[in-house]
């Protein structure tokens, strides 16, 4: 149970970084919508879990936030990727790609390939 949320949070943080990298400055709801659109139902149940992750990323200096005005003219907090965050994203993306590539190769292996 606990392990599953941990993995989720790790990937969630990476998703947040990637979203901000692509779309620039965005408020929390916007980030949630994008992730939902791209990842399907990963965030449909617990959108709120995004906020502790945002806080952690901000504490680590990967993102910055400031108050701004949302599209329906309400006060909203906008998040933006920092230089540190961009570097972190690159490093972690590379790690993910490697892992994915390795796993992909493993899954592609057929019995006859090993004989």
């Amino acid at each position: 149970m606990k392990e599953k949320t941990d993995v989720l949070q790790g990937t969630l943080a990476l998703m947040v970084l990637k979203t901000l990298d692509v779309l620039g400055s965005l408020h929390g709801y916007g980030i949630a919508r994008r992730i939902e659109q791209i990842s399907g139902d990963l965030l449909t149940v617990n959108q709120g879990t995004l906020y502790p992750v945002l806080l952690k990323l901000e504490q680590e200096g990967s993102i910055q936030s400031e108050w701004g005005v949302s599209e329906n003219n309400r006060k909203a907090r906008f998040y933006r990727l920092t230089r540190v965050g961009r570097k972190q994203l690159q490093a972690e993306a590379r790690g993910w790609e490697q892992t994915a590539a390795i796993m992909g190769r493993f899954f592609a292996v057929k019995a006859e390939d090993l004989q």
Binding site: H27, G28, Y29, A32, T44, V45, N46, Q47, G48, T49, Y51, P52, L55, K56, E58, Q59, E60, G61, S70, N72, R74, K75, A76, R77
Partner: protein, 926 residues
């Protein structure tokens, strides 16, 4: 790096917590509003849109909790919460808080107080620049003179000539300093003052002594090598201690002249406050004098005697120099020096030449004579105080357990409501640590008082100032120690209750308290009681052994009379007397003191019995070859006036004592003791035989009497008495080469032994008057009774025995209280059962027996475990028992009986209380 950054951000946001929560609130509202808007656009009704938005967001409270945990420092917050909670609980039960704190304070205070001493005596370096760069000559400390060209344990003491050889030829030292191994008393008077001279300890040191230590003066200047050459104007450096205590740090002291043993010296400076010389000792030197003023001051100077070794060496090595290669070089220099004195060496010394060597050892702590002397005592005290601390821990743990038991229901309830086990343990531990820190704080006060008292009793001061430069107030290392020991104590006694707290079954909360059949923790408490009993048995029997050993020491037959004897100490040297004036002076003193009403007899001597000092000589028997190099032919000598043996009450077994007839013109005689006769004559009649001191011929003295063995030094207590010979004061030894009379300082007698008549008393004022009538300049150093002189020798033993007894009684009380607590608690838990039993017809004594049976089992088990331990401790005490067997059955038996009976009493009270319960009440109580 990132986590550090996050920590600081958290620290900041912890302090701005409220703002963070407000921000989250706003963000949530915004999020929900946007989501609701989207849903409405998608065609949902506003209320359904709102509902769906909230559903999709997830559990708001859980997220808020998560957010809060990440934004602040939960560890710090819980800690503060726990501390607040623990304080509140302690405030609610002040009796418990005070008792526990005091118990802990006793344990921690005792341990800290002993540690203060251990730190000062065993661990601390001298307060000088870079003590790690200092190296000293020799592995152990020798006192105070060594003659000849061979030192069996490696050269430790050196002569001035040998010092110069080392100083001038060893490059590895940036400074190599020499200083006197002993600390003589000087008669000192400020020039122009009309007060009589007073005696102060002093020390001859080389000119680079202070330079080598790298210290700077409080006032004036310290020595340079210019001050330490023949013919330099005589100068002195005063200790800060004396300057402060006697002259109130008056700057005019620097530059003024002081008469030291009647010779003028210019005081040029004051040592720094923390400096107490090259070694820790009671009565550290107050006057430092250059080595080259020694011939100016002393009648028989040692400075230019090549083969009189009286100096210790400490050197500061150059940066990067290797002590091992310096040592090798110095060994070479030693051999060269010995070779250059080949002609003066005796055959025996030449035979020992190849084996002569030396050792360099770390010298940052100075000359560690005190460490060698007290190490074993301190180890005993550490052990004893450690045991007390353990008992204290067991006791407090017991109290905590009882409290934890009483709170079981509450703990069970909180756990049923979802409290984490970790949190419950942390709460319990926080309370324990808090208590032990309070205990530690109070313990510091106890430690300060305790250390001051121990120092006061161990090193009685004659001037009112502390006689030993050990500071009782806690220093940084002591504070750290007290803190560390408090935390350890807190963990030790807190861990069991904390652990038990987690073993509470939440279901118990739902059952009624006391209905539970599980007795969690009762074995833990029983184990604690057993341990306490065993430990306190060990302490009690250690106390018993030490006290018995002391009693055995004090009541033994020392071979002389103590009753009606008074010893007065004076010093003709301090008053500037010259050797030819001595015998007439002694006669005048005897006449004057005999004239005091109530005095029946008077005699003078160099050393009186159990004064604690001695002068060893090598003996050469007539008709035997001169003693060989490895032959043990040592004996101690004393010089006495006529009637001495009668005055100290030492009976003569054969022949006669020293009488008025033994003048210089009469044949030179000696009285020996039994040990001397045994060692050198093996049962043959020694009367009429001759002997001499090695190097002075074998026909020096004719033995005219054999005295019963009387004890002169306390250092060999438990062993047989040292061989001794007594010489008449008036007879001067003849130099075998020149046949001229020689006077060594054994003729400067210090002790006046006075016998008073039955019922008469002797005031020191009358004594001073009598001495002043002989010579007003003659300082009376000390007056005490013979009993006091003897007791003084057992000062340390008395102190250790008393301290251990104190700790033993303390542990007894603690163990009894612990047992009382356990018995009372168990009896309390069995109220129902007892009620039923009484209702069914059990009588009082059966109930008492029921309760006692449980408790007594614990005591017996504790005694059973403790008994072998006590014998182990007896073995550890070993030679501190002075011949008393460490496997002392009466002492162990006594300890068992005392412990058993007080434990029995402690258990009896709650047992009686339990038996007086009325059955109706017991069944109703719930």
């Amino acid at each position: 790096m990132r986590s550090l950054r996050r920590f600081f951000k958290r620290l900041v946001s912890w302090s701005t917590k409220r703002r963070d929560e407000a921000r989250l609130q706003e963000e949530i509202e915004e999020h929900l509003a946007l989501q609701t808007g989207d849903y409405i656009q998608a065609g949902l009704s506003p209320s359904e849109a709102q509902r769906q938005a909230v559903l999709k967001f997830g559990a708001i409270e859980a997220i808020r909790e998560d957010y809060r945990e990440r934004s602040g420092l939960p560890f710090l917050e819980t800690l503060i919460q726990d501390v607040r909670y623990a304080l509140r609980r302690l405030r609610n039960s002040p009796a418990f808080a005070v008792t526990t704190t005091l118990t802990l304070a006793l344990g921690i205070g005792a341990t800290t107080s002993i540690f203060t001493l251990v730190h000062a005596v065993l661990l601390k370096s001298l307060v000088v620049t870079k003590p790690g760069d200092l190296y000293r000559l020799g592995k152990e400390s020798l006192c105070c003179y060594h003659g000849g060209y061979a030192q069996d344990k490696g050269f430790t003491l050196v002569s001035y000539d040998l010092y110069k050889k080392f100083r001038d030829n060893t490059d590895g030292f940036s400074e190599l300093a020499a200083f006197q191994a002993s600390s003589p008393d000087f008669g000192v008077r400020r020039a122009g003052s009309n007060q009589s001279a007073q005696s102060f300890p002093g020390e001859f040191v080389s000119g680079n002594y202070f330079l080598m230590f790298g210290i700077s003066p409080s006032a004036g200047r310290l020595f340079t090598s210019e001050d330490d050459r023949p013919g330099a104007p005589p100068v002195a450096v005063m200790s800060y201690r004396l300057w402060q205590q006697r002259y109130g740090t008056n700057p005019s002291v620097v530059g003024s002249v002081f008469d030291i043993d009647m010779k003028p010296f210019l005081v040029v400076g004051i040592t720094p406050p923390a400096f107490f010389g090259d070694r820790l000792r009671d009565n550290p030197p107050d006057f430092f004098l250059p080595l080259n003023t020694e011939p100016y001051l002393e009648a028989n100077p040692d400075l230019n005697e090549y083969d009189t070794h009286w100096l210790d060496l400490i050197g500061r090595i150059r940066p990067g120099a290797n002590p091992t290669s310096i040592e090798a070089q110095m060994r070479l220099e030693l051999k060269q020096w010995l070779r250059s004195h080949w002609k003066e060496m005796s055959a025996a010394e030449r035979a020992k030449f190849p084996a002569q060597t030396l050792f360099l050892t770390p010298g940052g702590a100075g000359i560690t004579s005190m460490r060698e002397e007290y190490e074993h005592w301190l180890n005993i005290l550490i052990m004893v105080s450690g045991f007390v601390l353990l008992i204290v821990c067991a006791n407090v743990a017991n109290l905590m357990l009882v409290r934890a038991m009483e709170r079981r229901r509450q703990t069970a309830l909180s756990m049923a409501l979802g409290a984490q086990a970790r949190r419950v343990v942390r709460q319990a531990l926080t309370q324990s640590l808090l208590l032990s820190l309070f205990g530690g704080l109070a313990g510091l006060v106890i430690a300060f008082v305790g250390t001051s008292l121990i120092l006061y009793f161990a090193f009685p001061s004659t001037t009112g100032a502390p006689a030993i430069p050990i500071d009782a107030s806690p220093s940084m290392p002591v504070l750290l120690f007290a803190f560390g020991i408090s935390v350890i104590t807190g963990l030790v006694f807190g861990i069991a209750p904390a652990w038990l707290a987690t073993r509470v079954d939440p279901i118990e909360a739902l059952r009624g308290a006391g209905r539970s059949t599980v007795r969690t923790g009762s074995w833990t408490r029983k184990t604690l009681v057993i341990c306490q009993t065993a430990l306190s048995l060990v302490l009690l029997s250690a106390a018993g052994l030490l006290t018995a050993a002391l009693a055995h020491l004090e009541t033994q037959d020392f071979g002389f009379e103590q009753a009606r004897r008074t010893v007065a100490m004076m010093s003709p040297q301090l008053a500037g007397y010259q050797p030819p004036q001595l015998s007439p002076l002694y006669r005048r003193i005897r006449d004057a003191v005999s004239g005091i009403p109530g005095v029946s007899a008077v005699a003078l001597c160099k050393y009186s019995p159990l004064e604690g000092n001695n002068w060893g000589s090598d003996v050469w028997l007539e008709g035997h070859p001169p003693p060989g190099p490895n032959e043990d032919n040592s004996a101690s000598r004393d010089r006495v006036t006529a009637g001495y043996f009668e005055v100290i009450g030492n009976s003569l077994l054969k022949g006669r004592g020293i009488t008025e007839r033994d003048t210089d013109a009469a044949p030179h005689v000696a009285v020996i003791n039994e040990a001397f006769a045994r060692k050198f004559f093996h049962g043959a009649d020694p009367i009429g035989k001759h002997f001499g001191r090695d190097g002075m011929g074998s026909h020096q003295y004719e033995i005219v009497g054999v005295a019963r063995d009387a004890r002169y030094f306390a250092s060999d207590l438990g062993k047989s008495v040292t061989p001794m010979f007594f010489l008449p004061e008036e007879q001067l030894d003849l130099n075998p080469k020149t046949a001229q009379p020689t006077i060594d300082s054994s003729h400067f007698l210090n002790d006046i032994v006075i016998v008073t008549r039955q019922g008469a008393s002797l005031s020191s004022a009358r004594l001073s008057e009598a001495l002043a009538s002989v010579d007003p300049n003659l300082p009376l150093i000390l007056v005490h009774t013979m009993q006091e002189q003897v007791a003084f020798q057992f000062n340390q033993q008395t102190l250790i025995a008393r301290l251990t007894s104190f700790f033993g009684v303390l542990s007894l009380v603690l163990a009894s209280v612990g047992l009382y607590g356990v018995t009372a608690y168990n009896a309390g838990r069995r109220v129902n059962e007892i009620g039923v039993r009484i209702a069914l017809g059990a009588n009082r004594s059966q109930v008492v027996a029921l309760i006692l049976k449980g408790s007594f089992g614990l005591i017996l088990l504790g005694l059973f475990i403790g008994l072998p331990l006590t014998f182990a401790v007896g073995h550890f005490l070993g030679h501190q028992l002075y011949g008393l067997s460490p496997y002392n059955v009466p002492v162990a038996g006594f300890a068992v009986v005392v412990l058993g009976s007080s434990a029995f009493l402690a258990a009896l009270i709650p047992a009686f209380r339990a038996s007086s319960i009325s059955p109706l009440e017991a069944l109703r109580a719930e």
